[in-house]
Subunit: 241 residues, 2 copies
DNA sequence: CTCAATTATTGACTATTCGTCATTTAATGA
DNA sequence: TCATTAAATGACGAATAGTCAATAATTGAG
């Protein structure tokens, strides 16, 4: 006996089919190529039915972003709960971020879209709040690791510093790096054949700059990174075929 | 005696008027609010005439980005040519970036737009190359300062490191931070009342992590930053009323 | 100055899109 | 069986990008 009626199940299936199609279209031809008419046509439903699921195009896009963000939050939680030193847990967060990008190469494009085009205003409070919640939760998780490091004596912040500033440093570096990486194919021509590794080095050196011990010169965090990837997200990540 | 005929001048004026209007519209209501019809209406010209200047909407957007990028390149060159230590010149680059964002708050939104929506494909080779050129030049300038630092003995890169990796670190951090800052109004709610200052700290700590002397703990780079802002870009920046 | 040739401008037109809603179709259960 | 409720439809209105034949303005040779 199911908790959902056949109708409810059908509806949910259709919804995920819509999102799946939309994701493919977005990947294929960007925001402008994502057309409600085409979704309806490919679904073999009329447009009106699609609009019963999502009141507008923007809600679909934000839904896609939220699906991804939810997974990222899970991965960050997994990384944070790892039994290791604070900086190793931080490395695990890095592994989570890298794995997330591997699984959702579209996410940054979508996130940028949501931020830049006037998509935000057209979406429902509920979905907007969900998104902000996910982001805030991610920050809180990373902030928690920072505070643990302080508690453990591995990190001492200067007077005019807060954990939030450090988290913002990592966040902005990651966001920027992956935005550039996923939307630019000419990085080799500019002397950066392996931008992901460059990001990894820079993250470590930033934490070294904060004096978060053990410093990356004294410990092989790349090994930790690979280990976290394997143990925590190895083989198959949750919710992914 | 002008080198341009009256017609050419008129055309150029009209072109900059179009860009000006487009910029305002983009600021006002985003990519979707930027309408060729509305531009034509507000210019009091017909649509066809607008299309004689720009073959499509996307070219207008890329033009706007390029206008801004050109100015940033100028500012970076100015900063790099400053007579000071390598890390001070780096601080001047930071001042240039900050000043650039102050003058062009729209730039990051437009840049993200160009990257994420399918704008890139629709634009001319010429404009695309101009953009890539500007970006590459900016990187080269910053890379030049890094190399000067190495020559001066203020910086020693590890074996597996290159100047490009460092530049990428600064680039991604700046790009990410300003993208987030200019597209998010809820940073205070997340414990970041002054994100620009946070960025500044993080940049310095990253360079400290690289061991670029004098370290920020030994030298007041914020003073340098303010000084560069004043001396190099103070009062009125070039090409700005 | 005149007027044919060139150049610039126009806006009606096509095609495409989003989102709505009266109408039709299907499902339900008394 | 059939009245009532729910779901699905697609024609429609309103915007928009971009085109292009027709029109207006400019130019410069005679």
């Amino acid at each position: 006996m199911q908790t959902l009626t056949r109708k409810e199940r059908e509806k949910q299936e259709r919804e995920s089919k819509i999102l799946q199609l939309a994701s493919a279209m977005l990947k294929e031809s960007g925001y402008l190529g994502l057309s409600m008419d085409r979704i309806a046509a490919e679904m073999e439903y009329s447009k009106g039915t699609i609009y019963q699921h999502f009141p507008n195009k923007e809600e679909i896009i934000l839904s896609l972003a939220n699906e991804a963000l939810k997974k990222r939050l899970d991965m960050f939680e997994t990384a944070s709960a790892w039994n290791a030193t604070s900086r190793q847990r931080m490395a695990a967060i890095g592994a989570a971020a890298a794995e997330f990008v591997r699984i959702h190469p579209m996410y940054f494009a979508v996130d940028q879209l949501v931020r830049s085009a006037s998509i935000w205003e057209k979406t429902s409070d509920q979905r907007r709040q969900f998104m902000q919640n996910c982001e805030a939760s991610c920050m809180r998780i990373v902030g928690g690791i920072v505070n643990d490091a302080i508690t453990d004596g591995d990190l001492r912040l200067a007077n005019n510093m807060t954990a939030e500033v450090l988290v913002f440093g990592l966040w902005s570096m990651n966001f920027g790096a992956y935005s550039i990486i996923t939307s630019s194919d000419s990085l080799e021509q500019v002397g950066l054949p392996e931008p992901e590794i460059a990001l990894w080095h820079n993250q470590n050196l930033l934490l070294d700059g904060y004096g978060w011990t053990p410093l990356s010169s004294d410990f092989d965090y790349f090994h930790t990174f690979e280990q976290a990837k394997q143990e925590l997200f190895g083989g198959r990540t949750p919710n992914e075929p």
